[in-house]
């Protein structure tokens, strides 16, 4: 039981990060029908911005959680703004001229942008890993024990922060004017334009919003899981998050959250599974995402929450 719950906790932690990234994929796909392959690299840039901001502000380990949050929030905000700007630039320069081009062309461009960010990142940040300074209280003060179960404060903060960000997103999409416009464009871009919605602005806003979430994900991931920050950090994380978005039903915001969470849980359980004879499930962790993907798509071709309209003949 304890083992089970521990896996759930790890899974939710990882899943929150996947969900944050997946939201950007799903929103951009919703308005543009484009797989923005560069999105995972925006996540990576977010982690780096966070790292450099933390270094510049000389962040240190704080004795209390409140103090830690006070230090982390400006860093998080900075990374979100930086990534939003980056997202807007990418959209304006690389994708906007291709609105009418074949889908495959836009996809190749997205791959090009992704390669550019990765290789530019190698150049700018160097190939050796960076580590985010530890900010939250460590040791006994940094863990919560519930019986046998150990939850670190880091995990708790990460999951709550991710949940708050998603709540803000939900509010924007469902309760604001621009959110309504986003939904309209996603439903039918041409009709939305006829109704007087400036689709270009909506698309730009969507890119910015998605990139900001990815940036936040990057900072949370780097600061609270102590992962290595590398220029290729966004490659696998981005790919798995995209798969999560597809599993949930691409274009659907709750789908991305559900898919991310599911992906995190599945990976955490496989990673934590004991060996069965010579078979070690943990070594197959990287394949879990894709097996899940194929199974889900074969059963529900439009993802878990998603409906593909049949083609009109």
């Amino acid at each position: 039981m304890q083992y089970f719950l521990q896996n759930v906790i790890n899974g939710v932690q990882l899943g929150s990060i996947y969900a944050l990234i997946a939201l950007g994929y799903t929103m951009v796909y919703g308005v543009l029908r484009l797989i923005n392959f560069a999105h995972g690299d925006v996540f990576m840039i977010g982690a780096y911005v966070g790292f450099y901001a933390a270094s510049a502000m000389k962040l240190q380990e704080q004795p209390t959680l409140g103090g830690a949050l006070l230090q982390l929030i400006p860093v998080l905000f900075l990374a979100m703004v930086a990534c939003a700007v980056l997202g807007l630039i990418i959209e304006r320069l690389a994708y906007k001229p291709l609105r009418k081009a074949p889908r495959l062309t836009a996809l190749i461009t997205a791959i090009g942008v992704s390669l550019f960010l990765e290789n530019g990142g190698q150049l700018l940040f160097g190939a050796d890993p960076k580590f985010f300074p530890s900010v939250t209280p460590q040791g006994p003060k940094g863990t919560i024990r519930i019986g046998e179960l150990i939850i670190s404060v880091d995990q708790l903060v990460l999951v709550i922060a991710a949940a708050l960000l998603m709540a803000v997103l939900w509010y924007i999409v469902s309760r604001t004017r621009i959110g309504k416009a986003m939904r309209a464009v996603s439903h039918d871009a041409d009709a939305a334009a006829l109704m007087g919605i400036n689709t270009d602005n909506v698309i730009s806003f969507t890119f910015g919003l998605g990139a900001a979430l990815a940036g936040a994900g990057g900072v949370l991931f780097a600061s609270l899981t102590y992962a290595k920050i590398l220029p290729l950090l966004g490659v696998t994380m981005g790919l798995k998050a995209f798969v999560a978005a597809v599993v949930g039903g691409i274009g659907s915001i709750p789908g991305a959250m559900l898919g991310g969470l599911l992906m995190g849980l599945a990976e955490s359980f496989v990673k934590g599974a004991p060996a069965i004879g010579p078979f070690e499930p943990s070594r197959w962790t990287d394949a879990v995402a894709f097996v899940l993907l194929i199974v889900v798509l074969l059963v529900r071709p439009a993802g878990l929450i998603g409906n593909a309209a049949p083609e009109k003949v």
Binding site: A94, P102, I108, G112, L115, F116, R283, F290, L297
Partner: protein
């Protein structure tokens, strides 16, 4: 079918390839020869992917996975089959660059090519099945996923070295032989190009194109779109597997990281840059995209080398923005047109493209 002309063409092709094989291997610098070989293998990959993406319009972005299957299957055959079948090959895997060495290796090479191709074709069949239910981006992400599953599976197979990669059966001291000569690479280039061309300019090929154009209309006209799509996947995967066998016996080592999805993207890029559906375009783009980074590497100094990949990425974005239909458009590039236009002084490019179906060339 077995006309005299055909026999002559085939013999002449084999002769020229054999001659070039020894000539180039001796005359070219090691670096240049390597570029020639890798370009040839990339051509096989790009042209075979074009069968799936360009002809039938299916959206496959996991082609390197098929290459991985072919590479590992072929390498495993020549290494683990050494004692029983290929005992006459040196255990070190180093065959001499002579006619004798070539003849010694030929049977093993043929077996390796077939094994690589057939294994990959079986996997291609399995990957092709979802294409019956999924379309566009969904299919793309599934093919990509299959590629990644193959990579993880290879990493977990100790018999082929797991994550460390595979160079041979180290315990018994048997290594992957260097069977891949210029002859085999370019023979396969010729085969894949001829197969593609014969398919493209035939009524059977029209059925493939009709699936790309409008699947529902194609079905209504009696085209078995299921079979066409699966055929395209199987055929494309077969040649990717062949390319894998060539690659494994050229490098004499294979590693799971050589066939990741980043590599798959390279092949998709080649096909799109060459113009979707265009065979000549795929060939040219494969050569350029393989040779260019190597040339940049050797011509630029060490300090520029780090900018190489950034420049490559920028070039890719720029090309897509300027010529989204591919450098040469979607038709076939024809030499006679190119030369015929010289006098006219018209700009090279779109006008040189052959848009019409070739007159059915019957022999």
């Amino acid at each position: 079918m077995l006309s005299l002309r055909r026999i002559l063409t085939v013999s002449a092709t084999l002769g020229i390839l054999l001659f070039l094989s020894f000539f180039l291997e001796q005359r070219l610098q090691a670096v240049a020869f390597r570029v020639v070989m890798l370009s040839g293998i990339a051509v096989v990959m790009a042209v075979s992917l074009n069968l799936i993406n360009g002809f039938t319009g299916q959206f496959s972005i996991g082609h390197a996975g098929f290459q991985a299957v072919g590479a590992y299957a072929a390498a495993a055959l020549t290494v683990y089959g050494h004692n029983r079948i290929f005992g006459n090959l040196p255990r070190s895997g180093q065959l001499p660059d002579t006619l004798q060495g070539f003849l010694l290796g030929a049977p093993a090479m043929i077996c390796a090519l077939l094994a690589g191709g057939l294994f990959a074709a079986v996997v291609g069949y399995v990957v092709g099945l979802p294409s019956l239910r999924l379309k566009g981006d969904y299919l793309a992400i599934v093919t990509l996923g299959f590629g990644e599953i193959i990579r993880v599976a290879v990493e977990n197979t100790e018999a082929v070295g797991g994550p460390r990669g595979f160079t041979g059966n180290i315990r018994e001291g048997i290594y992957i032989p260097n069977l891949t000569s210029f002859f085999w690479v370019y023979l396969m280039v010729v085969v894949v190009v001829v197969v593609s061309r014969n398919l493209r300019f035939s009524v059977q090929g029209l059925q493939y194109l009709s699936v790309r154009e409008d699947e529902i209309a194609a079905q209504a006209m009696g085209v078995n779109t299921t079979r066409v799509k699966v055929n395209a996947f199987v055929l494309g995967a077969f040649f990717a597997g062949v390319a894998g066998a060539l690659y494994a016996h050229f490098e004499q080592s294979v590693s799971p990281t050589s066939f990741g999805f980043v590599r798959s993207f390279d092949f998709v890029t080649m096909v799109v840059l060459g113009g979707l559906g265009s065979i000549t375009g795929s060939v040219l783009a494969a050569v350029v995209l393989t040779a260019l980074p190597e040339i940049l590497r050797s011509s630029l100094g060490a300090e520029f080398n780090q900018y190489r990949l950034v420049a490559y990425a920028l070039l890719l974005i720029l090309l897509m923005l300027v010529r989204p239909q591919g450098i040469f458009g979607r038709g076939e590039l024809r030499l006679d047109r190119l030369f015929g236009r010289k006098g006219g002084g018209g700009p090279a490019g779109r006008d040189n493209v052959e848009d019409q179906p070739a007159a059915t060339e019957l022999r």
